[in-house]
């Protein structure tokens, strides 16, 4: 039995209603426990947190850190890696490369260094699930998992078209079990299949997908309801159609409305909130006010932002046609990868510039979302790492949310037209530390259905981040004083003290074993590998934890 006592810190634990109270936290064998009754109780180790801000470990619910597209992006951008700050080998830790797509070891250390202890890759094609698990095993310290792409899956579309909800339900459960994934992800539902079958895309949720006689609306509703029936801890996770296109707000609104009666999470909502004419970038603008109003009045929905920050980064997506679009817009090198029966992929390096009207608007639109969703429990911080920017920009985003003056300074350096096309300059709201703790910890844990994360009550994982208060908010969040993972001090004053392995989180929804015959028959006709070689074996999982379905 090992124990840790964190004493005298100023605690922000919104899930337990604690907002800046001074107190102690006890961790025994990796889990938070009630403080012992005896007044002279002692722990194996005590951290004096007097004057420090104490929060649960951070949770990134939408990032791209493992699997084929991430690794392809790493291979693709030596010119960026060459100038990025590397992660140096120490006596205890491995080396790595940094930049917008860090290597696996670097990813784990960099997240831990920011006080983040959990992260989910948001888009893994099932056929590459084994690969994603191998990379996650080489991603130290943090707990992790991934979402399984199924919005362009042939079997899913066939069952929807055939009106076979029972088979769909069995398949989604079987697929999550086979991949050891955490949640169901839709990426441009139906649109990627159109791209794969001859080029093009769908442009709204009621267009029919060639060959499959199904619409994006049917895919969204079918998967949303199935996920709910299966009792998965996280609702359907949706990357809407028409990402990035001017005027896409209408598709986003249609998607939100189609989810009435279901729970749903809309991801990187910033990229889906644009005004304007799809064929004319100069008409670009924000439609956050009406979209956020809809979210505010519909409790079935949650969002994460996908904040854009001004820097070099890499766009990587399961949205194949989007990759082609970005390649055409930027003229940069382009990777596209189609996966049989399942998914697509697009990768393009990109630079977001403060002086660009479109880019500065994207930045402002992201901030509008943070500031216009009234209930912080329904919005999670993300950059859609690395699409809008690196996860390493989170401290800077926190400072923008907590400091209106800082936002206005950045706005002053952007084209003047930005302020005419969005409401950012009129938004006075400034986040409190408690609200920051919600959107970076408590809310993502709740959206993900992780009862043991995102808070500091008894039974929670012993994942705690301690910050030294600083007038420079960005610096405060960039350099936590201590980071504790499962009750062990992992980071002390910016030094990694231990190289631990995190846990893999996944779900095991039940399914009717009789339904497998039909899946197998389809699989054996279509795939290029053997059915038996598809499911990921338990030995690929690192210290696995099955998160229960309800």
């Amino acid at each position: 039995m090992s124990s840790l006592r964190i004493t005298g810190g100023t605690i922000y634990d919104p899930a337990n209603g604690i907002d800046g109270d001074v107190g102690d936290i006890w961790i025994v064998d990796g889990r938070i426990v009630e403080a012992p009754a005896e007044p002279d109780a002692s722990a194996d180790r005590t951290l004096d947190a007097t004057g420090l801000v104490v929060m649960p470990g951070g949770i990134d619910m939408h990032c791209h850190i493992a699997g084929p597209k991430v690794n392809t992006a790493r291979k693709m951008i030596p010119e960026e890696k060459r100038t990025a700050e590397p992660v140096r080998r120490t006596r205890l830790t491995r080396s790595g490369s940094g930049g917008s797509v860090p290597s696996t070891f670097a990813t784990g250390y960099l997240y831990a260094g920011l006080g983040y202890t959990t992260a989910f890759d948001a888009a893994v094609p099932p056929l590459a699930a084994r690969h994603a698990h191998e990379e996650l095993e080489d991603t130290p310290i943090i707990d992790k998992g991934f979402y399984v792409m199924m919005g362009n899956n042939h079997y899913v579309m066939k069952q929807l078209a055939a009106g076979e909800p029972g088979r769909l339900k069995a398949y989604i459960a079987w697929l999550l079990q086979s991949t050891k994934g955490y949640a169901a992800k839709l990426v441009n539902p139906g649109g990627v299949e159109v791209w794969k079958s001859g080029g093009g895309n769908v442009h709204g949720i009621d267009e029919t997908v060639d060959h499959f006689n199904v619409t994006p609306r049917q895919i969204i509703q079918g998967v949303a309801s199935t996920v709910q029936e299966l009792g998965l801890p996280h609702p359907v996770h949706i990357h809407c159609n028409n990402l990035g296109l001017p005027g896409n707000h209408a598709t986003t609104m249609d998607t939100m409305k189609s989810l009435e009666g279901y729970r749903g999470h809309l991801t990187h909502i910033q990229f889906h909130s644009y005004d304007g004419d799809p064929d004319d970038q100069s008409t670009f603008g924000s439609r956050v006010p009406e979209l956020s109003e809809y979210v505010n009045s519909h409790e079935n929905l949650t969002v994460d932002v996908g904040q854009v920050m001004f820097a070099n980064t890499t766009s990587m997506t399961g949205d194949g046609p989007l990759g082609y679009y970005l390649h055409q817009v930027t003229g940069r090198k382009w990777f596209s990868g189609d996966t049989e029966m399942e998914a697509g992929c697009g990768i393009v390096p990109i630079v977001y510039k403060q002086k660009s009207l479109v880019h500065a608007l994207q930045w402002a639109i992201g901030l509008e979302w943070y500031l216009m969703v009234d209930d912080p429990w329904r919005i999670a911080m993300s950059t859609d790492h690395p699409n809008g920017g690196s996860f390493q920009a989170y401290p800077e985003i926190i400072s923008l949310l907590m400091d209106r003056e800082r936002r206005l300074e950045v706005l002053a350096g952007a084209p003047a037209a930005v302020s005419d096309r969005c409401t950012l300059k009129d938004l006075d709201r400034e986040y409190s530390l408690n609200e920051i703790a919600i959107i970076t910890r408590a809310a993502p844990a709740r959206m993900l259905g992780l009862a043991h994360k995102g808070h500091l009550g008894p039974g929670a994982d012993g994942d705690v981040t301690l910050y030294s208060p600083d007038d420079d908010i960005q610096r405060m969040f960039e350099l936590p004083r201590y980071v504790v993972s499962r009750g062990e001090v992992i980071v002390d004053d910016a030094q990694i003290m231990r190289d631990t392995r995190g846990r893999t989180l996944y779900v095991e929804p039940e399914y009717d074993p009789d339904a497998v015959d039909d899946i197998q028959a389809w699989f054996e006709k279509t795939y290029s590998i053997q059915f038996r070689n598809y499911p990921v074996g338990d030995h690929y999982l690192q210290d696995p934890l099955v998160v229960p379905t309800s």
């Binding site: 080998r89 590459a128 690969h131 990777f335 990868g337 393009v348 590998i529 074996g537």
Partner: protein, 453 residues
């Protein structure tokens, strides 16, 4: 769903392993049905001629566990000596890796990181130039199942799959009936472009005999035609192929619904190298203005694609990575194995499942012969013969499980057929790593990064 379910005991001492995986070439066919009698595979249903040779010839040979300076030795002693060699080197090279599991590759990466060496794989001398090309122009590609299900126009360029990847035609690229090409071969047009009229020409509808070292010019001409640029008929003198033929091919390419170019080392090993690959990748990319096209290098060794992936996720770079400064650096030509050997720079080598003594350039071989080396191989090779420490290993996919990435990056599990008395690469590398770490942590050796080597 576990990997053991596929093996059934059909008679005493006779087992059948279904859905086993052949790791000889980059096709990584995972539909093998192996009949195992004791410690021998006696039947390999579905295997091609190369696969049969692979399965039938990797039986257990009577060799010592290891040789130290040519003298038989046990594993423990050999791992001690290997760790000593690697720890005392100033510029060690880790090389090979394409014929072992990703699990073993990961440990080899760890060792190289801890000792601050260079890691390079056989990629640098097969499709390394294609990797460089990819960094220049990107790549539009797809999994082999997409080729099977959709491709109605297939170009093989600078490769001879009939001999190097014998089941590629039948399993993935030409013969299979696919979802959108229901009549299989009849629904596809096949073109072979090569300097030799190889056995693969028989399988193609069109054979284009390109002049040696003119692949770049040919790809550029096709790019021009794709864009509607008029070409001079003298293109025939340059490339060996008439303008009329080129126009006919381009017409077919544009009319295709889903085309794919599968290219081989005829592009990467000849003059132009990465520029040749870049031209072909750019051609496939450009064709997406008309219809859907993909390109894919035909990777050779069983798990060379896994090696690319492991090196990339561990360091951020695909091959030729220098870790001696305490962080990864990438520079083909500087940190690639051929170069650090031919220039006489590496002062020790860790070679895993590869035989550079028989296939590297003469100056590289001359240097490698003279430096201390640690070699892991199931079979005797010229490289093992000249090693300071040569380990006899079990064979991946036949004796040991693990993971292999097919040429299209699809990860596939292995189902071993029978046990070997020899240790796996993974076990030996782990033994070496733990010895290195023990020494580094116990003696508080200065971090190799600090020396600025």
């Amino acid at each position: 769903m576990s990997t053991t379910e596929a093996a059934t005991e059909t008679a005493p001492g006779l087992r059948v392993v279904q859905d086993a995986t052949c790791t000889f070439c980059g096709c990584v066919c995972d539909d093998m049905e192996l009949t195992v009698e004791g410690d021998r595979i006696t039947k390999a249903k579905n295997a091609c001629v190369l696969g049969k040779a692979w399965f039938f010839n990797h039986h257990v040979e009577d060799r010592p566990e290891a040789l130290i300076d040519g003298q038989p030795a046990g594993y423990e002693q050999a791992m001690d000596r290997a760790a000593e060699i690697l720890l005392s080197a100033r510029f060690p090279l880790t090389y090979g890796l394409s014929d072992t599991t990703t699990e073993a590759q990961r440990v080899a990466l760890a060792i190289t990181d801890w000792i601050g060496g260079i890691v390079d794989t056989t990629t640098s001398v097969c499709h390394g130039p294609s990797g460089i090309a990819f960094q220049g122009v990107g790549e539009v590609t797809c999994s082999l199942g997409e080729v099977k299900n959709r491709a109605d126009y297939v170009i093989f360029w600078g490769g001879n799959p009939a001999e190097s990847h014998p089941r590629h035609f039948t399993k993935y690229s030409l013969m299979p009936k696919g979802e959108f090409v229901p009549n299989g071969r009849k629904d596809r047009t096949a073109v072979l472009i090569d300097v030799r009229k190889t056995k693969s020409a028989k399988a193609a509808d069109h054979f284009l005999q390109v002049k040696p070292r003119r692949d770049f010019e040919l790809a550029w001409a096709l790019r021009a035609l794709a864009r509607g640029v008029e070409l001079d008929p003298s293109i025939e003198e340059t490339t060996g192929i008439s303008l009329e033929t080129l126009e006919e091919i381009m017409d077919g390419m544009k009319k295709a619904k889903f085309g794919v170019i599968l290219f081989g080392m005829g592009l990467t090993m000849t003059r132009g190298k990465h520029l040749n690959s870049e031209a072909v990748l750019a051609l496939a990319r450009d064709m997406n203005e008309h219809t859907r096209w993909s390109a894919k290098p035909m990777r050779g060794h069983g798990n060379v694609t896994g090696a690319d992936n492991v090196v990339s996720w561990s360091t951020g770079y695909p091959f030729g990575v220098h870790l001696g400064s305490g962080f990864p650096r990438f520079n083909p030509g500087e940190f690639t194995a051929s170069d650090v050997l031919a220039r006489g720079e590496a002062d020790a080598a860790l070679i895993i499942a590869s035989d550079p003594m028989s296939n590297f350039s003469q100056p590289a071989r001359d240097h490698l012969e003279g430096i201390p080396s640690v070699v892991l191989d199931p079979k005797l090779s010229d490289t093992a013969r000249t090693a300071s420490v040569a380990f006899t290993t079990s064979t991946y996919g036949i004796n040991t499980g693990g993971t292999v990435y097919r040429m299209d990056d699809v990860p596939i599990p292995l189902r071993p057929a029978f046990d070997s008395p020899y240790k796996s690469d993974l076990e030996i590398l782990r033994g070496i790593e733990s010895r290195i770490r023990q020494r580094q942590l116990a003696e508080s050796l200065p971090d190799p990064a600090a020396s600025g080597a």
